[in-house]
Amino acid sequence: MKKIISGENEITLRLLAKDKLALFSLAIIVLFILMAIFAPYIAPYPEEGEGKPVPEQRFIPPSIEHPFGTDYLGRDILSRIIFGARISLSVGIFVVICAIFIGTPLGLIAGYYGGKVDEILMRATDVFLSFPSLLFAIALVASLGPGLFNAMLSLAITWWPWYTRLARAQAVSIKEQPFILASKAMGVSGIRIVFKHILPNSLTPIIVQGTMDMSSAILAEAGLSFIGLGAQAPSPEWGLMVSTGRIYLLNYWWFPVFPGLAIFLIALAFNLFGDCLRDILDPKTRKFRGITF
C-alpha cells in the first residue's frame, strides 16, 4: 500500500529522487562540498595546495603522481583545485546569502506596504540595476581595493536588488489572498504578516533563484580574480589560476585548463540543479520534464 504523502516538501523530494539530471548535478555539488570540507585530507599535497612552491618540479605534465600536472612554481594543480573549492563555494554561499538577506525583506516590505515605501525602495533598486552588475562590482572593488573579501562584498552589494524584485512580486501576489486578509482582520501586525505569512509562502522562487545564482556568483568572482581584482596570489582561487596560467596555454595546457574545467563544472552543476528545482517546484512545468506523480 502506498504511503499517504504529507506536505509539499515530501512531494518535491520524491520528484527530485526521480529526476536523473537533478541527481547528477546534485552529486557534483555534493562532491565539491565534500572536497572543500575535507581538502587537507583529500589533497595529495596539502602544503602545495596552500601555496608552498617546489621549484624543482615545475611544469610536470599530468602523470600518476600529479594527475593534473604542476604549475609554474611546481605546485600540484589537483591539490590547488581541491583547496580552491573552499574559496569558490564560500564566495557563492556568502554572496547569495547576503543578497537574499538584504534583498528579500526589502522586497517583501515594498510589496506588502505599497505606496510610498514601495516607490522609494524600488527606485533605489532601479538605480542599482541600471548598471551592468559585473561592471558595477568592478568599480566597487576598484574603490575598496583588490582582495577576496572586497570582491565578495561588492558582488553581494550588486546582487541584492534582484531578490528585492523577486520578493516584491511575490508579496504583491500573495497579499490579496484571503488568508492574509483574515490575519489583517484578526489584528495581526503588518511586520508579523510579512515575516510569518508572506515570507514562507514566497520562499520557493527565492531558493530556486539562489541556487542558480550560486553559479553566477562563482563565475563573477572567478572573473574578478582573473582580472586581478579578487583573490591574490598565492591563493588557490580558480580564476586566478586560469589567469596566471593563460600565458602558458600553448606550452603547458594543463596549467590553465584544469582550473577552468573546475569552474565550468561547478557553475554547470548549480545551474542545472536550479533549473530542475524550478521545474519540479512549479506544477505547470512538471509534465514537461516527463515526471508524473
Partner: protein
Amino acid sequence: MLEVKNLSKYYFKRIGFLGKKETIKAVDNVSFEIEKGESVGLVGETGCGKSTLARCILRIEKPTAGEIIFDRKNVFKMKGKEILEYCRSVQIVFQNPYTSLDPRLTIKESLLEPLTIHFKEEKRNLMNRIYELLKIVGLEDSVLNRYPHELSGGQNQRVAIARAISLNPKLLVLDEPTSSLDVSVQAMILNLLKEIQEKLNLSYLFISHDLSVIKYITNKVIVMYSGKFVEKGYTERVLDKPYHPYTKMLLEALPIPEPKNRRSRPINSLHINGLGECVFYSRCPYKSEVCEKRTPNLVEVEEEHFVACHSI
C-alpha cells in the same frame, strides 16, 4: 450595535498615462445597522460592492466617505487598544476555505495565531480553548497537526469558522461562506452557522448571491446593485413581496427544485440603452423619464421595508 452611515468607497482609475481619472463607485452612500443577535443578508451579483462593504467593516479598506460606528465608537478613529478590541469583536469567514488558511501553517498554528495575539496566556490554556472550539465546529482533535491541503473543503471551512469565533466576536461577517462548497456540505455548514449563532448570540452579516440560503439564515435582507442599496427589509417580506424590479428578477431566476414547474427566465444581461441616474436604468423593464434624471432614494413603502425605485 454596528451602524454604517453614508458609507462610500470609490476607486480611481486613470486611463492611459495622462488620461482622465475615472471614478468607480464600488460602494455608494449606503447606510444600515445590525443589532445584537440579528442576521442581516446582503444580496447582489458579482462586482456589486458586497465584498468591498465587508472589507470596510473589517477595516481592511478605508472608506472614501461616511463612517462606521460600533458600540458608539467610530471605527476609523480608533487607536491602539481600541483597534485590537474591535478586531476581537468583528470577524470574517471567507468564500474559499482553501485560500483563507495559510497553506504553510498547520491547523493548530493557524488557530493559535489570533489567540496568542489577543490573549497573553499560557499555551496550555490556549490549547484548551482550541479543543473547545473544535468541539463547537464539530472537528476532531486529529486535524490539528495537518495542513489545509490535507483537509476537505468542508473541514477547512469549519476551521475557518473556529478561528473566526475564537476571539468571542459579537459580529461575524460571512462572505459567501458556502458558495464554493458541495451542496451537501453547504447544508451542514449552514446548520452549523445557525447553531453557533444561537449558542453564542452572534450577529451575522451574511453575504451571498443565493437567495435560498439567505431565506434560510437571515431575518433581514439588503439587496445591492452597483454599489447602492435598492431594497431592504425583513427577509420574509422582501422575498415574498419584492418591490424593486431587480429583486423581482433575482427571485425569478431562482431555480425551482421541481422539474414540472421548470422555467427559464435568465436575468437579462447588460444591454445598455442609455445611462440614467438610477443605477438600474440600463436593465430596468419599467424605466421612465424620471429614472434618467433623478436618483431614486430609499423610501419606506411598508413598515421597515425600504425600496429605491421611482415606479412604486
